[in-house]
């Protein structure tokens, strides 16, 4: 396994945990806890998107000389997920947990088919294209904390 695959796939699993926790709270009808857990999930997702869009993808595009290729599709899918996350937010604002769970089910498949593409195809390519630069990038990302420029 390469540095990019290991680091970013682990982030996906972390987001899965937050997802599952929010889903559980919604199922038990605990709106307050669901709101709190959803915020944690959303923050983790958005941070992950930022790391990819501002750090990983530009380096891949530069090294592979292909700015309009697979990374563009991944950015588009991030936007689609942001759309569903916004729907979930408004469901929680209105206190509609059934709507929230339906949106979660949709997000789950959207998110996981996206993760499959990244983990199976894009990340291994990043590792190959970036070579030794991949390890350095991951080091930087590890020390990244919120709000800091990437």
């Amino acid at each position: 396994m390469g540095a990019v695959v290991d680091y970013f796939a682990a982030e996906h699993r972390g987001c899965d945990e937050f997802f599952s926790a929010a889903e559980e709270a919604a199922q038990t009808g605990d709106l307050a806890s669901c709101r709190e857990r959803f915020q944690r999930f959303r923050t983790a997702m958005e941070q992950h998107f930022r790391k990819e869009e501002e750090a990983l993808f530009p380096r891949f595009e530069q090294a592979s000389g292909n700015p309009m290729g697979p990374t563009q599709v991944m950015r588009l899918e991030h936007q689609q997920m942001q759309g569903v996350l916004a729907e979930m937010e408004s469901a929680l604002t209105g206190g509609d947990l059934d709507e929230f769970l339906g949106q979660m089910e949709t997000l789950l498949i959207l998110m996981q088919q996206h993760n499959i593409k990244e983990e199976q195809i894009l990340y291994p390519m990043c590792d190959r294209v970036l070579g030794v630069a991949a390890a350095a990038l991951i080091e930087t990302l590890r020390s990244f904390s919120e709000g800091q420029p990437l």
């Binding site: 599952s20 592979s64 292909n66 689609q80 339906g102 089910e105 949709t106 199976q120 195809i121």
Partner: protein, 435 residues
């Protein structure tokens, strides 16, 4: 590093996979009608033309139909390659496959050799186009992960199944002198253990951990399983063809243990899912994996205990467990994830905010999924019991099969109709705004 030719684009048009998915359930209904019409005779032996007709309604009409449609859909996701001209390719596969799946059972039932010509032509063409399109895509795959390897093995097995099926067709239509019993054994093994099991294996590597949030399959298992099974199947076939009975049993037993281990590992992973809420499609995986495990153990036992192999019910039991219990149930469950998701996906892409896109549980609520699951379980149990008491139980089993098939078909059609309604309403809003 070449990234041209890599396409992570999301999906072919909705109708490309949907035409397969909406057709398939009605073949379960046809199978039920055949059972009602022919009654207990169908379960007298696996070698009767009527039993072969029933088998092919299920394997070609339902199973292969969905499996090919799903492959056209998922290649961009797991392999990163799209099939060229998807609409045309899908039509060139779907039409002959559907007609062939109707004509082949008619050929068996009518007993007229002439019917086998169109059946062979239609299925040879449909599967030929499918194999060419999918194999080309698989060989151009930029990454050869475990799923790609398993899919290549599955497609290779489909090629062998098709080749042997066509050879057997020549026997039925032209009476060509072939060792027909041996070839039928090999054809069946490649169709069920090669094409069907290995395709489910390749898909399960991705779908089970991702959608159920289980731990991943062990790395050594994912790398080794499909190639090992394909090699064992090849060795077993050669031994069957040369008539080396002693060796054949050991290789067969190894195959059975392999299949049981896949069912066991999948079941174990499902018990460790990190999703904390229920999922109505999970029940279909349980039916599928339990049946696969039971079928593999039963086959293993018949290889080691010769007296058991003499029992007349064994082959029919194996057929019911592997075809309905395993393949039909797992496919049924997966359709409930794929179809509402694709409907949502294509709606949001086409509506672009003009109207609110209904979420998956609006497109297909959980209740009908859970209800149809009971009919799927009842059908499996009734079919298994009918193997022992066909005179009494074949009719309730047939009715149950018809109900479960129709229910699946109606549930999927419901998603499509909801999709059309929302899309038409969304587009009408736009043309109203323009005018």
């Amino acid at each position: 590093m070449i990234t041209t030719g890599l396409s992570l684009e999301q999906a072919p048009p909705f109708d490309v996979p949907l035409r397969f998915f909406l057709t398939a359930p009605w073949f379960l209904v046809l199978a039920a009608l055949l059972l009602l019409w022919q009654g207990p005779a169908v379960f007298a032996s696996r070698w009767l033309p009527v039993t072969l007709a029933l088998t092919h309604l299920l394997t070609v009409g339902f199973m292969a139909q969905v499996m090919v449609g799903a492959l056209l859909q998922m290649l961009p996701v797991v392999v990163g390659v799209v099939v060229p001209r998807p609409r045309l390719t899908a039509a060139l596969i779907h039409v002959p496959l559907t007609l062939g799946a109707l004509v082949l059972p008619l050929a068996f039932l009518s007993g007229r050799p002439g019917w086998f010509h169109p059946a062979m032509g239609l299925l040879g063409f449909g599967f030929g186009v499918a194999l060419a399109a999918i194999l080309i895509a698989l060989w151009r795959a930029p990454v050869a992960n475990s799923t790609v390897v398993a899919l290549r093995c599955a497609l290779g097995a489909l090629l062998v199944t098709l080749g042997l099926g066509l050879a057997l067709g020549v026997y039925w239509c032209c009476g060509l002198g072939l060792p027909v019993i041996v070839l039928t054994h090999v054809h069946t093994a490649w169709g069920l253990l090669g094409w069907t099991v290995l395709l489910v294996v390749g898909v399960a590597y991705q779908v089970v951990p991702m959608l159920q949030m289980t731990p991943p399959y062990p790395g050594w298992f994912m790398r080794g399983f499909a190639p090992l099974m394909a090699a064992l199947l090849l060795a077993w076939s050669v031994l069957v063809l040369v008539g080396a009975e002693g060796m054949m049993k050991w290789v067969g037993a190894a195959l059975a243990v392999g299949i049981a281990s896949f069912a066991g590992v999948t079941g174990y992973l499902l018990t460790r899912r990190r999703r904390r809420i229920g999922d109505p499609t999970l029940g279909y995986w349980w039916i599928g994996m339990t049946s696969l495990l039971a079928g593999a153990l039963l086959w293993w036992a018949t290889l080691l205990i010769p007296a058991l192999a003499q029992q007349p019910h064994i082959e029919l039991l194996l057929g019911v467990l592997s075809i309905f219990g395993f393949a039909v149930a797992v496919i049924n469950g997966m359709l409930y994830k794929i179809v509402p998701f694709l409907a949502w996906f294509h709606l949001q892409a086409q509506l672009l905010g003009r109207a609110k896109t209904p979420h998956m549980k609006q497109l297909l609520p959980e209740k009908p999924i859970r209800q149809q699951w009971w009919s799927c379980l009842a059908t499996l149990l009734l079919l298994l019991a009918a193997v022992f008491h066909p005179a009494v139980l074949i009719y309730p089993a047939a009715l149950s099969l018809g109900v479960t098939g129709m229910w699946l078909g109606v549930n999927l059609l419901g998603v499509w109709r909801y999709y059309r309604r929302v899309l038409d309403a969304g587009m009408a809003t736009e043309s109203l705004a323009r005018s």
